[in-house]
């Protein structure tokens, strides 16, 4: 089992969701995050121009069985890319164990 963390553009969230659904990855968490990167956003408030490096993105946390890792990454990169700076990142971790709380099932069984 692997844990896949992806930071994607908020505007691409729906497309990524659909792509994951297509390859039958249906269980995951997501939340809105603020972070820093190379991008700078110019803003104006009451006549004062300022720029902020605070960037808003959506964070996905997905646990999949080993056989799903490659197609999940492909689904996210294909659907989440625009080609511009700021498309996001994907990180892969080993996942030691997983449990389904209701039944006590473990491993791949717990999320399939």
């Amino acid at each position: 089992m692997k844990k896949i963390e992806a930071i994607i553009r908020k505007a691409k969230f729906d497309e990524v969701l659909e792509a994951l659904h297509q390859i039958e990855v249906n269980f995951f968490c997501y939340w809105d995050v603020t972070g820093r990167g190379n991008e700078k956003i110019g803003k104006v408030y009451r006549g004062i121009s300022y720029s902020t490096k605070d960037i808003e993105r959506t964070f996905l946390s997905i646990v999949v069985s080993d056989s799903f890792v490659d197609k999940t990454i492909k689904a996210i990169t294909d659907s989440g890319a625009t080609g511009e700076i700021g498309d996001g990142k994907i990180f892969i971790y080993n996942c030691e164990e997983a449990y389904r709380i209701r039944t006590g099932e473990t491993g791949n069984q717990s999320f399939n």
Partner: protein
């Protein structure tokens, strides 16, 4: 007993008819005036919303507290002292129209007399004027937001609303010396561009000068920084509520439901508001290449404050010109304060002071009483009121600063006044940065 002749009977009947007609007129007028008092009362919600939206979330309760304090204590103090200081009847302390006081509290005997005024009863008069008085204190609240010590703020506004505001008001609306400044021309301020808005604005200017800017408003080089407001939709609601309130603020200042005057006043008021919004948006768009909603909102208020001095004097075209210029002045004012290193989070000073001065002077430039003499009288009155307010506020503020301190500690400012001054946050279970 001698029986009345036919002629005398006829006379009695006419008198009776006149009395009944006057009574009907008074009832109609009075209903309108009470409605206007209610609309001006509603403006306090508008001020609160505007101020909350343009400041940070950590100071929301503090802002509500200040606004509640002003409307409650403002009304009580106006009842005890203010009303009789502003409308003393005769200037019995310093003659010649400078200072008079008709005693503490309201006068139930005067209220029993329905011939008090053909436009309203004594009670309505008090309530309408009392709502106005509290407005002057609210203007200070916006400018000093996010860093003033609540106890010191309460003292300053209490003295300001119960003493300074009524004294200035008495000079004009209480038939004092400004109303007959020269032999043939008196000062003209229909609903208070100077007497309400500038009085509040001058007070705000002095207090923020002594108080200093919020931490982070200017960087170490003195460059102004943006501190974006936490809730722009709430501010927008505040501005539209204030606009609605102005129907009462200006509409009620006709002091009766006179059909021609009230309708005209509502038209000029609304046109100036629209023009002010347009002027500020267009001008700030040109200046900053950005369509700034907070400038749009401040511009509407600038237009409203601008028309307030001459709302019954102007044609619709005059109102549009005055409003547009009012909006432009607000945009320039915001940038001027930034350059002067003064921190006014909500734009109270550009809106109420700068646009208030403009509106007062505009009475001498546009409309029914325009003319050089009138302009000079307006200018002199702006100066007299300004000097008096600045001196009074300086004394009050420095005195309170030396006794109780003016500013919260730096840590308290960073943590937010809600938790440090009031022990809780505004949105306890709702986390935002």
């Amino acid at each position: 007993m001698k029986r009345p002749t036919e002629l005398e009977l006829g006379k009695q009947e006419t008198n009776h008819l006149i009395k009944e007609k006057n009574m009907e007129l008074l009832t109609t007028n009075n209903v309108w005036m009470m409605l206007c008092a209610a609309l001006v009362f509603f403006m306090h919600l508008g001020f609160s919303f505007l101020e909350i939206g343009l400041t940070r979330q950590k100071n929301t309760i503090n802002i509500l507290f200040k606004n509640f304090f002003i409307i409650t204590m403002g009304l009580i103090m106006y009842c005890l002292i203010g009303f009789n200081l502003m409308y003393p009847g005769e200037f019995n302390i310093i003659g010649g129209g400078y200072l008079g006081f008709a005693g503490f509290g309201l006068d139930a005997a005067a209220a029993a007399d329905l011939t008090y005024n053909e436009g309203y009863t004594y009670w309505t008069d008090f309530l309408f004027q009392g709502m106005f008085a509290a407005t002057a204190g609210t203007i200070i609240s916006g400018a000093v937001a996010e860093r003033i010590k609540i106890s010191s703020f309460m003292l300053i506004t209490l003295i300001y609303v119960s003493i300074v505001y009524p004294i200035v008001g008495s000079w004009q609306w209480g038939s004092g010396f400004l109303s007959t400044l020269t032999d043939n021309v008196g000062f003209y301020d229909f609903a208070g561009s100077t007497l309400v808005h500038s009085v509040g604005g001058w007070g705000a200017l002095v207090v923020i000068y002594i108080l200093g800017a919020r931490k982070g408003k200017f960087d170490s080089d003195g460059k102004p920084q943006a501190i974006p407001g936490s809730n722009i939709p709430l501010s927008a609601a505040g501005v539209l509520i204030l606009w609605l309130g102005w129907f009462g603020f200006n509409g009620g200042s006709v002091l009766s439901a006179d059909p021609a005057n009230t309708s005209l006043v509502l038209v000029t008021t609304c046109l100036a508001a629209s023009a002010g919004g347009f002027g500020a948006t267009f001008f700030s768009g040109l200046l900053y290449k950005n369509l700034d909603i907070t400038m749009f909102m401040n511009g509407i208020l600038g237009g409203l404050v601008g028309i307030t001095a001459g709302a019954d004097q102007m044609s619709p075209t005059d109102a549009i010109i005055i409003g547009t210029i009012g909006g432009v002045i607000v945009v320039l004012g915001v940038s001027l304060l930034d350059k002067a290193k003064l921190d006014d989070p909500v734009g109270a000073i550009p809106v109420h002071l700068f646009a208030g001065i403009w509106g007062t002077l505009a009475v001498g430039i546009f409309g029914a009483s325009a003319g050089f003499d009138q302009f000079m009288v307006q200018l002199a009155s702006v100066g007299i009121v300004g000097i008096f307010c600045v001196i009074c506020t300086t004394i009050i503020t420095l005195l309170i600063k030396s006794i109780a301190g003016l500013r919260v500690a730096e840590k308290e400012e960073l943590d937010g006044l809600d938790i440090t001054e009031h022990g809780t946050g505004a949105y306890a279970d709702f986390a935002m940065k």
